[in-house]
Symmetry: C2
Subunit: 390 residues, 2 copies
DNA sequence: ATTGAATCATCAAGTAAGTTGAGTTAATCC
DNA sequence: GGATTAACTCAACTTACTTGATGATTCAAT
């Protein structure tokens, strides 16, 4: 939800922090890498990289990992991320519950918890978030000094928009900046995003999009969201609400309806309710799919075309390296949906020599929002920027 | 068409160039601005800004423009862009013709020319581009030393995609990098983009989007394109082909068809051909509209719904500050189309307190592609980046 | 009219961070 | 085992920004 980024001037201090973040990101992307290679790729001198690596080592963010065998010359010492060098708190606020996870520097969850919560007013939500943070760091015995920040994920859109009041977003933050509010309550740097954007970041930090800089994440939440990563940055639009793909018009049964009325968890729940199946209180979607419940299968069959069209829209408008599907849907159903998509030939994404599949299944499962919340913080720690968020 | 940007390290030299571009961009955005104000906004010391301003003055890029009246204290000396301080060559390559324009630093065209060209092979196109550059600088009596670079605009998509061979793109560059090719031929820094992206940049540099950092430009060319500006950078996707909105599926007469078959210059030409009107050889579209030709009016009526849906898709997927319409359509027809759009309330763009209209008419007219070509160069000159294009 | 507060601007010395170039270490090639 | 190659280190150097003192210009209050 950090709106437009303002470009600031470069001075020694900002160059230092930019370079340290850049080196850290190259280490993350490579897995293992040597100093000379970083220098070649970054345009810095080997001496500068050496100094930076030495800093990162003493900060505990990276570790030495042996020497790499090469053809000739002195074999380079390899460095990789040190998982325990820093942790990120991820908190997902949903109506009815708060989820929290603690991620190490590599994006692995070292602790997680769920806290049901009926209240929805600002004070209670804040209290729940603060105690979730305390509980999760205690659970993993991680000291506050090692916390890089907290990521908070809430359903969007943020602020007052034409989509406000449709039920999924948190209206308590209409008039308060959630970033400043939670930063104050948690005494930590805070990043706030919607679930789809967080999921996209999660896949890049520790998922199927590692190594990709431009991709889209189609997120099944209560509704349907889209996280857009462009050149390693989230494309959040002018006011933080890009990716509301659930509200684009599609045709269903001859009528123009919002996409998410044909393709979302809410949509399948309504469809099943017609035949008397209550997903929340009765069988789970996964169980219904396992026994090939006819009502579910007919919904899936009907969803294939809108989904295919959505993929075509994403591909042609955004030209991503791949489109990832994930979110609050059982893995088996997501796989079924992915299998049912007809990828059109008439797409910019139908390129010869592709190395990545056009459609991927997200790696983070149903916890993707919570993991994504933490991943937002890691992503920020890895993103070099001589720029400040407004 | 500059694909992913690689983040590079910051050193003194790159910091210097970053800061000079940043200051230049602040001067451009403000129109007139003083040194202390730049320092406050940029995080640099006033001394640093003073030194940079002094450099830009001696390079002739900016000029002193009096002192501003303030409430108290010494009134700040104001600086603004010096139009004659640098020029950008803009070249638009279309099937059948080459257009060229020379833009001053403020984005004003100081010369322009059109050169019809039947050939489409690489050698002839290159020759035409080179002689257009020579002719246009001679026409305006601008020395080569003052040229900042050349922008080249061609219809996309670039490279081999599922949309290749559909007629609008230039296949001569399937196996050659157009950027390197033209840079070599022109002995100038070169930026290559498609028409829609160039149009978006043109509106930001000298048009209705000045001051906006995140917006979309819906471009009527032969087909239909979309230029996406996110935080002052073009969102070009993973392979440079983002914005192919003409190929997203929409419903027309009960069939799923690509949007541009209902909404593009080609579409209106086909529609008119059914009643025996040949737009190219006979009356122009503008003349037909002036006399309210029934066939044209019925096409316009039919185009309103797909256009409205396209706007809804753009708004909800990108949350732009505004959507600009422009390109190869007569102004009167664009105005009519804008008037016929039904803006849905259920959009993230339906925010209270908007300061910009949701829909704007582009300022560059039908030359927008050519002007955009030059604007690409200006935009690059103004974009501070401690980053290198791959 | 004079003094004081506020703001812009400049000078000169200082500082932080990356660069440079010579020299060292460690492996492979022949 | 010497030549070659590449990674790495040390110390001096360079660059561009920062800092703090001082001056300039305007408005406002007495």
């Amino acid at each position: 939800m950090s709106f437009s980024t303002i470009t600031v001037g470069a001075n020694a201090g900002r160059a230092r922090s930019h370079n340290r973040q850049m080196v850290l990101d190259r280490v993350r992307q490579a897995g293992q890498i040597g100093r000379a290679e970083i220098a070649r790729g970054s345009g810095l001198s080997t001496q500068a990289v050496s100094n930076i690596i030495s800093d990162l080592l003493s900060d505990g963010l990276i570790s030495e990992q042996g020497r790499k065998a090469t053809t000739r010359g002195q074999p380079p010492v390899q460095y990789g991320l040190n998982p325990g060098g820093g942790y990120a708190v991820g908190i997902e606020i949903r109506p009815g519950a708060i989820f929290a996870a603690l991620l190490d520097l590599c994006g692995t969850a070292v602790a997680s918890l769920k806290h049901t919560m009926t209240a929805t007013d600002l004070g209670d939500v804040t209290h729940a978030v603060v105690s979730a943070r305390t509980a999760i760091t205690a659970q993993a015995r991680v000291s506050d000094a090692k916390l890089l920040g907290a990521g908070i994920v809430m359903p969007g859109p943020f602020g007052r928009t034409g989509l406000s009041g449709t039920g999924s977003e948190f209206s308590i933050f209409h008039d308060v900046s959630p970033t400043a509010w939670f930063a104050d309550a948690l005494h930590l740097p805070v990043v706030v995003e919607n679930d789809a954007n967080a999921a996209a970041v999660a896949e890049r930090v520790a998922g199927v999009a590692s190594g990709l800089n431009t991709f889209a994440f189609l997120y099944f939440g209560t509704g349907l969201g889209l996280g857009l990563m462009q050149d390693g940055r989230l494309a959040t639009g002018g006011f933080g609400n890009a990716g509301e793909i659930g509200h684009i018009p599609v045709i269903s049964n001859g009528q123009t309806v919002p996409l998410e009325s044909a393709l979302s968890r809410l949509s399948v729940q309504r469809h099943l309710a017609h035949v008397g199946i209550d997903v929340d209180s009765g069988d789970s979607l996964g169980a219904l799919f396992a026994r090939r419940e006819p009502a579910l299968m007919s919904w899936l069959a009907a969803a294939a075309e809108p989904l295919s069209n959505a993929i075509a829209v994403i591909e042609n408008m955004f030209d991503p390296e791949t489109v990832i599907l994930g979110g609050a849907m059982p893995d088996a159903i997501l796989d079924h949906l992915i299998g049912s998509v007809t990828l059109t030939d008439r797409s910019v994404s139908n390129r010869p020599g592709r190395t990545t599949a056009r459609l991927l299944h997200g790696a983070s499962g149903s916890m993707t929002g919570t993991l994504g919340a933490g991943a937002l913080v890691l992503n920020r720690a890895f993103t070099p920027r001589i720029a400040a968020a407004s």
